[in-house]
């Protein structure tokens, strides 16, 4: 039996090592290795998907001793919450490599870094050991720093440093929480399965651990008011950096919120659930209003991420507060599905904004107009992604948001006020579409080329899945639901 999870996890790393080991490879070779490795990784992720998950607990677990004296080991595996995210990562990274294959500025270092980032991303979702999780969580940070600092836009150094220090400061409380969980467990071990099956902390200690975890994940998600690094990092990051940052790395926060906060300190989370819920509502509304105020397309999409992540926080908080298991499963289903679809939709949106910027060297909506006539393919793709992002039924975000609101109505009806965010986001995107794509085409953009084959290849899978998830969400939802319905908190 092949260790599929480990193979999928370390394939990108092996690809990065291969690229660094080759003496003076051409840009073409480097990009082919990148795309080839990412394709193989996607094959691995699909194999994991076909293998599927059983009901309760984790499936496809692989273990290797590391420090038995303290109960630390290499442990990986997936359940219905992490498996969709692994699949999402593999797909999004493949798109990223295809999109970036035109890059000629130090391609070797670039592709190697993105491959390292892919291992870190899949590792974060698949890790079942506290230390291992933290290792991947932090490695992603370092590679993202070098991506922004090395290939970002004009003010990249400052933005990269801010991102690095902000998120490192943010992730250190998690280290404390992990140590607390470890020292609190009766049979000292870093096995996350044991922590979930038998939450080691209680009372004040659990509350402190929860607070530490919430700080870490709030920075990562990012939840208002710890979100200030996000617009800065997005604006300066290269397109692929933004896609990965928004599409995958934000999910580290929400995934951690479920995996650590909800599953390892359930009682404390139940007590503090209302506070988390309030932060979720504020994030959803604030993100929506802030997005409405933007004129820069990339910042606009960045702020809509804060809004969408706000709904995920609401979903998780409702799951913690709900006493009825079916309501809890509904809310959690919605939250996980929302993570998945946000990756698809926002990934596509950042690709599209990057494509516009590459052609026009500006992202100011006011400078465009009538682009739909000049670049119809790009324009319609943007419309599709934008409509998905504003939650149109039949597209990816709708089923997730619907379930989150359903769960909210079933337990804390007051929080449904956050549904206002949907209307504002709709207004935001309609405004963006009107200013950028509708109206009379401006003469200065007449020569703008439409999507190339490379760009279509990077985008098309995301858009197809956006529709597929919207029309028939059950292909993802079944996997998610198998775990959430068996969850014991």
């Amino acid at each position: 039996m092949l260790p599929i999870v480990s193979l999928t996890l370390f394939l990108p790393l092996a690809g990065a090592a291969l690229i660094l080991a080759l003496p003076g490879p051409t840009a073409r070779t480097v990009h082919s290795i990148g795309i080839g490795t990412a394709s193989l990784t996607l094959v691995g992720a699909l194999a994991m998907w076909l293998e599927g998950v059983s009901g309760a607990g984790f499936s496809q677990v692989e273990e290797l001793e590391w420090i038995p004296a303290i109960g630390a080991a290499y442990r990986v595996g997936v359940d219905g919450i992490s498996l969709p995210l692994v699949l999402l990562s593999a797909m999004l990274f493949l798109g990223a490599f295809i999109y970036a294959s035109s890059l000629r500025e130090r391609p070797r270092a670039y592709v190697a870094l993105v491959l390292l980032l892919e291992t870190a991303a899949i590792g974060t979702f698949a890790a079942l050991d506290g230390i291992l999780f933290y290792v991947f969580f932090e490695v992603s940070l370092v590679s993202m720093y070098f991506m922004i600092a090395g290939w970002g836009h004009e003010d990249r150094q400052r933005a990269a440093l801010m991102f690095f220090i902000y998120t490192l400061l943010g992730s250190l409380p998690l280290l404390l929480a992990i140590l607390g969980l470890y020292l609190g467990s009766p049979d000292p071990s870093f096995d996350m399965r044991a922590w979930i099956a038998n939450p080691p902390l209680e009372g004040a200690a659990a509350m402190w651990a929860l607070v530490a975890m919430l700080v870490t994940f709030a920075v990562k998600i990012p939840a208002v008011p710890l979100h200030t690094w996000l617009p800065a990092a997005h604006v300066q990051a290269p397109t692929v950096g933004s896609v990965i940052l928004a599409g995958i790395m934000l999910k580290f926060g929400t995934y951690g919120l479920v995996r650590f906060a909800l599953q390892m300190t359930p009682e404390a989370f139940h007590e503090a659930g209302v506070v988390v819920l309030v932060f979720g509502v504020i994030g959803a509304l604030y993100g929506a209003f802030a997005a409405l105020a933007q004129t820069d397309l990339k910042r606009l999409v960045a702020y809509t991420s804060i809004n969408h992540m706000g709904y995920v926080i609401i979903g998780v908080a409702v799951a913690a507060l709900a006493l009825d298991p079916s309501v809890r499963a509904t809310a959690l289903d919605g939250a996980v599905l929302q993570m998945f679809s946000h990756g698809l939709v926002t990934g596509a949106l950042f690709f599209l904004v990057g494509m516009i910027q590459e052609r026009a060297h500006t992202r100011e909506m006011g400078e465009f107009g009538g682009l739909l006539k000049t670049v119809p393919l790009l324009g319609w793709s943007f419309m599709l992604a934008a409509f998905a992002s504003l939650g149109l039924p039949g597209l990816a975000h709708f089923p997730g948001e619907f379930q989150i609101f359903l769960g909210t109505l079933g337990s804390v009806p007051a929080a449904v006020v956050s549904i206002l965010g949907l209307a504002i986001i709709a207004g935001t995107f309609l405004k963006a579409i009107r200013e950028t794509f509708l109206g009379e085409p401006q003469s200065r953009w007449h020569s703008m080329p439409d999507l190339s084959l490379r760009e279509v290849l990077a985008l098309a899978p995301l858009l197809v899945l956006t529709v597929a998830t919207g029309v028939a969400p059950s292909w993802v939802l079944d996997t998610i639901h198998r775990t959430t319905s068996a969850l014991v908190l």
Binding site: L161, I165, L176, L179
Partner: protein, 454 residues
């Protein structure tokens, strides 16, 4: 007696290496001097391996052959070998170059004696041996900055050493024994012994460069040869910290000692990084960073006796620290001493650039590098011993550390490159060895546990 000497063979081998290196120098054979020193250290390392797992004492309990002293040899002897290679690239062709190799070996003997001290007289002996040898090493270039640095170091070292000896007389007078282990049985510690302990903290704190006994460090590192700075930042420091561990593991826990150590840890970490933040000279920056790193060791020392992590975490962090710090110094030896020298390094020499980034990130404590595993264990030890607040302070300092080391990393990938001469092959070998250790040592963490707990 025969058994005692058999257990001390590694130390004796290093001593012989020092003497034979000196003899070769007298015969004006500097290359032979280097070769003999390397050979002696190599043999001593090999002879130590068979001792792993022993836990005994020699000379009536006054010198300990335990996990600490054995690991001190396994860590410090290779570290000295790397320092010798750095030194050979730096002092090659100067007059009396062989004395450098001999003195490095002698200082290492002193550090090993410190690490195994079971008796206060060994503390004194080890401290004096390392101090005297390194005073001369700092002064070796024989120019104004080196002489000034050596003078400051000498005055500071002599005073600290004298304070320690003075305090130890009180301890001896009150306790009636020079054995550290005799502390364990005492119910209430007499005031005079406490005075002696404070003096020990002063003496060892000076050698381990803890705040507030650190004033000599930046000057000595900057004034002396770079290879000596690299050596000083690792070998005598780890020896002194292990000696402090030897003293504190026998201290009754209600003595209040851990609280004092915790205070020193906070001062060292915070002051070290804050001062490093404003340096433009990379050697001074690393000098202050090494002060801060000493503070991290103390997290393990406060947890002695309370947590089973304490000893393994100190030992592991020592190994990680030796690898990453020597590596960083080796890169400085190849590149240059000011921040400007690092401009564009990442583009001009990508591999050296990556190595430096990994050393510095390891010093911050970013996983999965060696420094992370070490700090993680130290934090676990401190929290286990109910010093959670100390672990929080240490974690906050890690953010400060990132800001410090990013000051080197950022210009490496931003500025236009500065032309560099090709570095000596030996420096590259040191960099590569240290890099391998920094990247892989974390995977072998289990090894440190099994052997040290036996």
């Amino acid at each position: 007696m025969g058994r005692d000497l058999a257990l001390l063979i590694p130390e004796i081998a290093v001593l012989l290496a020092a003497v034979s290196a000196l003899i070769a120098e007298i015969l004006r054979r500097p290359r032979a001097s280097l070769a003999l020193a390397m050979l002696g250290l190599f043999v001593a390392t090999g002879l130590t391996i068979r001792l792993v797992g022993t836990d005994t004492t020699v000379f009536g309990g006054s010198f300990r052959i335990d996990a600490l002293s054995i690991w001190a040899k396994l860590i410090l002897l290779p570290a000295t070998m790397l320092s010798l290679l750095l030194a050979s690239a730096e002092v090659r062709g100067t007059v009396r170059e062989g004395t450098v190799y001999s003195l490095l070996c002698l200082a290492t003997v002193g550090a090993l004696i410190l690490a195994g001290a079971g008796d206060m007289m060994f503390l004194v002996l080890g401290l004096l041996l390392t101090s005297l040898a390194t005073f001369a090493l700092v002064a070796y270039p024989d120019d104004d900055p080196a002489t000034e640095a050596a003078m400051k170091y000498f005055v500071f070292g002599s005073v600290a050493g004298a304070v320690m000896i003075f305090g130890l007389t009180y301890w001896f007078g009150a306790a009636g024994s020079t054995m550290i282990a005799d502390l364990e049985g005492t119910e209430a510690i007499p005031l005079a012994v406490i005075f002696g302990l404070v003096a020990v903290i002063v003496g060892l704190g000076y050698k381990a460069s803890l705040v507030p006994f650190h004033f000599w460090v930046p000057d000595a590192y900057e004034g002396g040869p770079l290879s000596v700075a690299a050596f000083l930042s690792v070998v005598p420091k780890v020896g002194a910290l292990f000696a402090l561990t030897q003293v504190f593991r026998d201290l009754p826990s209600e003595s209040g000692g851990p609280a004092v150590i915790a205070g020193l840890a906070v001062l060292s970490m915070t002051y070290g990084y804050l001062a490093a933040l404003v340096q433009d000279n990379v050697v001074r920056l690393l000098a202050y960073s090494s002060i801060a790193q000493s503070g991290y060791f103390l997290l393990g020392i406060v947890a002695l006796g309370e947590s089973s992590f304490a000893l393994p975490s100190i030992i592991f962090f020592a190994a990680a620290y030796a690898a990453m710090n020597l590596g960083a110094f080796a890169v400085i030896a190849a590149v240059g001493r000011t921040l400007n020298d690092f401009n564009g390094l990442g583009r001009a020499q990508p591999l050296v650039g990556v190595a430096m980034v990994l050393f510095l990130l390891s010093l911050v404590g970013i996983p999965p590098l060696a420094g992370f595993v070490g700090k993680f264990l130290l934090f676990a030890a401190a929290i286990h011993a109910q010093f959670t607040w100390l672990a929080v302070v240490a974690i906050l300092n890690s953010v400060l550390a990132l800001a410090v080391y990013m000051r080197i990393i950022v210009p490496m990938y931003r500025q236009e490159e500065v032309p560099h001469d090709a570095a000596s092959i030996w420096i590259d070998i040191v960099t590569l060895t240290a890099l391998l250790a920094t990247v892989t040592i974390g995977l072998a963490a289990q090894f440190f546990f099994v052997k040290s707990m036996a």
